[in-house]
Structure formats: C-alpha cells, structure tokens
C-alpha cells in the first residue's frame, strides 16, 4: 500500500506542476499526433460496431462505406441461434470459476512469497517467471493427453483447471508486491496482540491489499474470458464452446459472415466494457506496479 499511495499521488500531482505550463505551449507536432493515435485505436472499434449493423450484402460491395441503412439483423440472427446463450453461460462459468480458483490459490502464495526471503522464495519466484513465459501450446499438448486419461476432457472443470494453472504464476507475481508494500510492523503488532498468523492474514493483510486483489481478479477474469485455445481443444464439440472459442472458430472458417461475426464480437466485448468501466482506475495503477516488480 505504501507503494501504491505514492504512485497514485505521483499520477495525480506530478502532472499538475509542470502541466499548466506545458498546456500553454503551442504543440505543432504533439497535438496532431495525439489525434493520429486516437484514430489508430478508435477506427477498429468503430468498424466492429458499424459492420455489426450492416446487412451481409452491404459488406460484399464495399466494406468500408459509412453510408448504409443500419439494421439489427445481425444481432437478431446471432441471438436467435440457440447456442449463443449456452456460449454466454459457458464464458461466464469458465471466467468466474477460473477467477475464484486462481485467487484462492494465488493470494496466499503471493503473501507467503512476499513475507519470506529465503532461497526457496528465490527458486519459487524463478519457477513462476519461467512458467509465465512458457508458450501455451507447450501446455495444451500434454494437458490434452492427461485430461483425456483423467476424464477431464469436454468438461468445464478441465478448462477451468487448465486456465487456472496458466494464470496462477501471473496472479502470484502481480499480488506479491501489494503484500510486500504492507508494513511488517502491522503484522508484528497483531501477533503481539495474540492474533494467529492466519487471522492476521485474513483480517489485516487482505483488507489492506484489497486493491491488489481487485486488480488481479479483474485481469484474471479478462484473460480467462478471452482464452480460447484450451476451450477449442478440450471441448469435443462446439456445442460447449464459450464465446471466445465460438468467435475463433467462426473467424477461421471460409466464407465469413462479417456482420454476424462482428455482432458476436460486440456481444463478447460488452461484459469487458462493463467490467473495464468500473476497474479502469484500478488497472491503471495496479498494472504499472505489478509489471515492473
């Protein structure tokens, strides 16, 4: 926390001192470049939404025209597919399950690794970094065989477990600096007052590090919402696919129905937009802290 607060201050106060002066300056280069940057990131989003409001016929003639009669056909078509609500439910179950399980395991791990400086900690951190770097394809190949042998294929539990294993290193490494920032004196005070270690952890550490927990939880949810490699391979039929896997399957098919695909893209992104609106401030501070440590 003691690290988070100064950083939050830095972003809030540092601009205020040099900024008024910088704003007054005439910026012949930076101003237009900022607009270019806006376009580079806004145009693709604009096109997802625009295309989802077109008829399939509008897209064949010219994909980039802005003049067309908007229609919600693509949405009604996608929503009337019986599989869509199953896919939404699957996305939600997998993302929520992964987030819960990852936090359950990674929070204590982040705390433990933050408080003990020993050789085991160094080795543990090194292994987590290595795991975080391993390409997902190196996991999916053996997991497919192992889950087949253990009866975890074609099950939500299999995908949740695989996603959790994928995200524990990331979550633990992100949480650790938040716990490390809590002054140890607080814990010592609690232990002198007779609180046990688990109790200190639960009622002192966890509330103080809640920003870190919220940041990590949000990111784990976002990542598992978008994950599709495990889903595509572990589910044996598209009937059980979450939204991301459905999208991945349709976009690599031949003869893409673009308005339908974009409508599906919008539907997949709306929950992210909602979550993002509530957590943006948190992410902005939390990511910068976690990335560097």
């Amino acid at each position: 926390m003691s690290i988070v607060i100064p950083r939050a201050d830095a972003t809030a106060s540092a601009p205020s001192s040099p900024q008024p002066r910088r704003k007054k300056r005439f910026e012949p280069v930076a101003g237009p470049l900022r607009v270019v940057l806006l376009l580079i990131y806004a145009v693709p989003i604009l096109f997802i939404v625009l295309t989802s409001l077109k008829q399939p016929g509008d897209v064949i003639s010219s994909q980039s025209s802005f003049l067309f009669t908007p229609t919600l056909d693509a949405y009604t078509n996608v929503l009337s597919t019986s599989g869509l609500f199953v896919a939404m439910q699957q996305s939600l179950v997998i993302a929520a399950g992964t987030t819960a399980l990852t936090l359950l395991v990674a929070i204590p791990a982040g705390y433990g690794l933050a408080r003990v400086d020993s050789r085991i900690t160094t080795i543990g951190l090194g292994l987590l970094i290595v795991l975080q770097m391993v390409p997902q394809t190196a996991n999916v190949i053996p997991l497919y065989q192992i889950f087949g042998a253990w009866g975890l294929l074609d099950q939500n539990a299999g995908v949740i477990i695989a996603d959790t294993a994928l995200l524990i290193p990331f979550a633990t490494l992100l949480l650790r600096p938040f716990f490390r920032a809590v002054p140890e004196a607080l814990e010592e005070a609690a232990s002198i007052d007779g609180a046990s270690i688990p109790r200190t952890f639960w009622s002192i550490m966890l509330p103080i590090a809640r920003n870190g927990v919220a940041t990590t939880g949000t990111l784990v949810f976002l990542l598992s919402w978008g994950e599709f490699l495990y889903a595509v391979n572990f589910f044996l039929s598209p009937g059980n696919y979450p939204l991301s896997a459905l999208l991945a399957q349709q976009v690599s098919a031949f003869g893409i129905n673009w308005p339908g695909l974009m409508a599906l893209g919008v539907i997949t992104s709306i929950p992210i937009l909602i979550l993002f609106t509530f957590t943006y401030r948190l992410l902005r501070e939390g990511l910068t802290l976690g990335a560097v440590k």
Partner: protein, 319 residues
Amino acid sequence: MSADLTAARPSRRLSASPGHTRRFPRRRSLSRRGKLLFALPAGVFLLIFSFFPLAQLGRMSVSDVSARTLNSPWEFVGADNFVGSATQGSLVPAFGNTVVFVLIVTVIGLIGGLAAAILLSTSTWLSAFVLGLMVFIWALPPVVNGSVWKFLLGDAGLINSIITGIGLSPTAVPFLYDERFALLSVAIVNSWAVVPFNALVFRAAILGIPGETFEAARIDGANRWQEIWHMIVPAVRPTTLVLAVLTIVYAFRSFDFIFVMTYGGPGVATNTLPFLSYLQAFVRFDFGMGAATAVISVLLVLVLAVIYARSVRSEEAHS
C-alpha cells in the same frame, strides 16, 4: 507455544525475560518461515497441472505419439521427432519467422509505447480519453481484435480502400494471404495490441520524473526534443529493460492473433515455433513431433527467463 506460556503466566514474564528475549527472535523467524506454507497450495497445484504436464511433454517429444497411441504406452524413438521436424522443412522457417516476428513486435511495441506515453503524459481530456481507449482495447479478447483486423486488412477492407483510393497501389494488397506480407501484417497488429500496455507503464515512469527537472531544463532553454532525448529517455531506461523482456516474451508466446488472422498460412509464412507445434499436434495429429517443437520453444524460454531475472534484479538494485 511460548506465546501461550507467557499469556497463561503473566507473573513470570519478568523473571523469564532473559530467556524470552532469546526465544523471541527465533520464534519470529520460525513463524516467518512458516508463512511459506501459504504458498503450498499453489505449489501443489502447479506441480500437478504445470510441471507434470511439462515432464509429460518432454517424454512425448522422445516418443512416437499419434492420436491413436495417445493413451497407450509410447514407443521410445530418441531424437526422431526433432530430426523429423527439421527434415520436413518446417522447423527452420518457423525459427526464422519467430525471430522476425519477435523483432518487429518488440521494436514497434517499445518505440510505439514510449511515443504514446510521451504524447499522453499531459493532463488534457484528450490524452486521458485516448489512454483509456487504448487500455480498453488491450483488455479486449485477442480474438475480437484479431477478427476486426482480418476484416480491415481484407481485399475490400478499409486499409485497401485507402491504399487504392489515394493511388498507392492499383490493386488491393493481399496483406494476409501473400507470403511477403502475412508475417509482417500479423506482427504489426500484434504490436498495435501491446503498445497500450507499454504506454501505460512508460507513462508511469515519465510521471515519476520530478517536475522541477523539467522546469530547470526549460529555464535553460531546452526544447521538447531535447527534453525527450536528454531527460525522458535516460529516466525510463530501467523500465525499458524490463518492458523489453516482457514484450519479447509476449511476442514469442503469441498465438491468438496468428490463429485468428492467418492460421499459420499462407504455406508456412506465419508459422512461429509455438504455432508450428500446435499444428503438428492438433492438425496433423503427430503429438510426438508437436511436443518436440514445443520442447525447443520451452528451452528458448529458459534462456529468456534468465535474462528477465537479471534485468529485474538490476532494476531493483537501481531503484
């Protein structure tokens, strides 16, 4: 235990104090070590679902494993899978593609990220809006971002409409299905997706530079370019080092955008090492060969991990 004793017999606290002070640090260090137990569930979970699969991957890479023999005893074949993968002619191009891909994404990702961070480190509403938009796009599922770029880069897509419209090229540029452009296109889109994150981290480093430094430079008559070159760039150097490794790893692991935009094609043009291992295992059902290719990429990761650990250590030593 010692806590129970002192609590139960407060009267003895004074007389026991010499022993107590001796025992207290030891108890504390014991309980501190005990806190490592908090990491035990994660350790067990990763042992079963990450390290055991990696060991299995290693075993697979030296065995003959096909879809049919996946769940029966595997026949040991030594280095056959590695040799087979190399002689099929896909391993070497995949290695080359991976290097090119990682280079493009890292260079654009770092320079673009720093440029965006400098542009957006002002407190105008436009900067705030653009930064928010960029982070939102970073948070979107890669399948969504990949899909829209596949659309925009199509023959009748926006990019080609602009190119033919202003007369840069008489016909549409086959961005995603020509061997010359495909890898470059996917790499640039991947950079586009990683720039927001790098910009966010760079921006925090820039905002951490004391305001007086800028004021002093301005009094001395430094212009904006001198400010960037002599103050911002040196100040973000440690951040750059860490971000460079993170971006290299991100680019190396990249799978989603290739899957969505080109599926490794045309031919082997966008086969990177991780993607090649996926194709070998799940499209050609040669799990042994896929595992062999994956083992090579894991070994490369180990090299990167050592570099990363060193750069983090030097970052911590400097700050």
